[in-house]
């Protein structure tokens, strides 16, 4: 596939890993914020292609993982009501709540449907006026405008039976929370390319300056990741801390103006709880007052649900990059993708799940995965 295959090319991968090796003089820790990138790194064994001085820390950038348990329980409580069609992206369906997951609700007779786009959920609402259709709106700034437009569309079409369970989270406040924490080990960031496709990278400039930390907007293929690492290491070695754009085939400085306008119209920024991390100020979206009629939490009074995480789980440290998944005593034994104890094991983009799927510390042969 064009713009994919050439970014998995083994020759280019070798060129970049050689360049990194040539410029590195001392140890550096770089965090990739996005779970999609963590997945690529583990899948293609990128860490094995890097000089020993470079440590990759895996960040909290998997919206499925950081959605709090109580929010999943709310989704399940709503989906269990009669007359409700509960719609969601596929990856949220398997995430276990404290008792059930949405997929087993479906097996038990609840009307739970997987959709590819939130507009499909709007269509379902239009075709089922006697039912209440709920869409589980999760995701970062990449997905938020798409989910926002479903509400705009529902309003425009005069639908009274459509609402969203809004659980959106935002990347820059999470980066700030990580950088300002006392035990921060992160010296450079790879920022999430698709989040920046929508938002641009302007927002990151004050962060790079305030915390004197290079931030490189990076894509998702092996060549992208290695080039992002090369650009970060170069900055670190030269004592620079700037925002640079590796993913310039897709990302611009100011992002997609129309998508950003939709976000401003539909959402207010609020404090949000992140699973495994806790509440981060101004790190999420809630529907604005003018769209309250489309807020599932207002329509279905599910109350407050408080849930405690397993005491064994060290997700907080994993998500901050202070510990690797395989340093957790529960990893692979008590905690597996089928029976996750914590956030980073619940989706394939979570660091613990990625470690589990691709073998902890297993030296992957790049040639077997990367197109030769």
């Amino acid at each position: 596939m064009k713009f994919v295959d050439e970014y998995r090319d083994i020759k280019s991968v070798k060129v970049l890993s050689k360049q990194i090796e040539e410029i590195v003089t001392r140890p550096w820790s770089i965090m990739e914020i996005c779970g999609g990138q963590t997945h690529t790194i583990l899948k293609y064994g990128i860490e094995e292609l890097l000089p020993k001085q470079i440590t990759l820390l895996h960040g909290p950038g998997c919206p499925v993982c950081v959605t709090p348990l109580e929010q999943i329980d709310k989704a399940i409580a709503i989906a269990s009501r009669s007359g409700v069609i509960f719609t969601s992206f596929g990856d949220m369906l398997r995430v276990p709540g404290s008792k059930d997951d949405l997929l087993s609700m479906k097996a038990n007779g609840s009307d739970v449907r997987m959709v590819y786009s939130p507009l499909d959920a709007v269509k379902i609402a239009e075709e089922n006026k006697d039912k209440k259709v709920v869409f589980f709106a999760v995701g970062f700034e990449t997905t938020a405008p798409v989910n926002a437009i479903s509400v705009v569309e529902a309003k425009r079409r005069g639908l009274k039976n459509f609402s969203i369970l809004c659980s959106h989270v935002l990347v820059p406040p999470a980066i700030e929370a990580l950088l300002s924490s006392e035990d921060c080990m992160i010296q450079g960031f790879l920022a999430a390319g698709h989040v920046c496709t929508v938002m641009g990278y302007e927002q990151y400039i004050p962060l790079a300056e305030k915390y004197r930390t290079p931030i490189v907007v990076t894509g998702f293929e092996p060549v992208d990741i290695l080039q992002g690492i090369l650009m970060s290491v170069k900055q670190l070695e030269e004592g620079r801390f700037e925002v640079e754009n590796q993913y310039n085939r897709v990302v611009t400085k100011s992002g997609n103006q129309s998508a950003k306008k939709v976000l401003d119209t539909v959402f207010d920024t609020i404090d949000r709880k992140w699973r495994g991390i806790g509440t981060i100020p101004k790190s999420g979206y809630a529907l604005k007052k003018s769209f309250q009629d489309f807020d599932s939490e207002k329509i279905f009074d599910v109350g407050t649900i408080e849930q405690n995480e397993s005491p064994l789980c060290i997700a907080g440290e994993v998500l901050k990059g202070t510990k690797k998944p395989n340093e957790c005593s529960a990893f692979g034994v008590l905690c597996k993708p089928e029976i996750p104890l914590g956030a980073p094991m619940v989706s394939t983009e979570g660091a613990c799940a990625a470690y589990f799927h691709y073998g902890k510390n297993k030296s992957l042969n790049a040639n077997s995965e990367i197109r030769v």
């Binding site: 596939m1 064009k2 713009f3 994919v4 050439e6 970014y7 090319d9 020759k11 280019s12 070798k14 060129v15 970049l16 050689k18 996005c34 779970g35 999609g36 950038g61 998997c62 919206p63 499925v64 992206f89 990856d91 590819y116 786009s117 939130p118 507009l119 499909d120 999760v138 995701g139 970062f140 990449t142 997905t143 405008p145 798409v146 989910n147 437009i149 569309e153 425009r156 999430a192 698709h194 989040v195 496709t197 929508v198 998702f220 060549v223 080039q227 310039n248 085939r249 897709v250 990302v251 611009t252 997609n256 129309s258 998508a259 989706s347 983009e349």
Partner: protein, 85 residues
């Protein structure tokens, strides 16, 4: 979750001015996506699509230039390797 996939626009449907749609070819698989947020796209352009929405046009020339440079360097590296062996 934040996965977005590159594809080529093969047709455009402007019948709903609030939600302009396009048929997009993703390496042989054809799917519909909304192109409302992109003003200047035409048939043949590459776009990056997430959850049924095109988020941005791909800057083809810049992308190809990066790859061309990496390829040339890769060729040089191969030559050096074969000399050493």
């Amino acid at each position: 979750m934040c996965l977005a996939v590159p594809g080529k626009i093969i047709s455009i449907d402007n019948s709903n001015s609030e939600l302009r749609m396009a048929k997009i070819n993703f390496g042989g698989i054809i799917k519909e996506a909304c192109i409302q947020w992109l003003d200047d796209v035409t048939i043949g352009d590459y776009v990056i699509v997430h959850a049924g929405f095109a988020l941005n046009k791909i800057a083809t020339e810049e992308a190809e230039e990066t790859i061309r440079i990496l390829n040339e360097m890769g060729d040089l590296l191969d030559k050096e390797d074969s000399k050493e062996n």
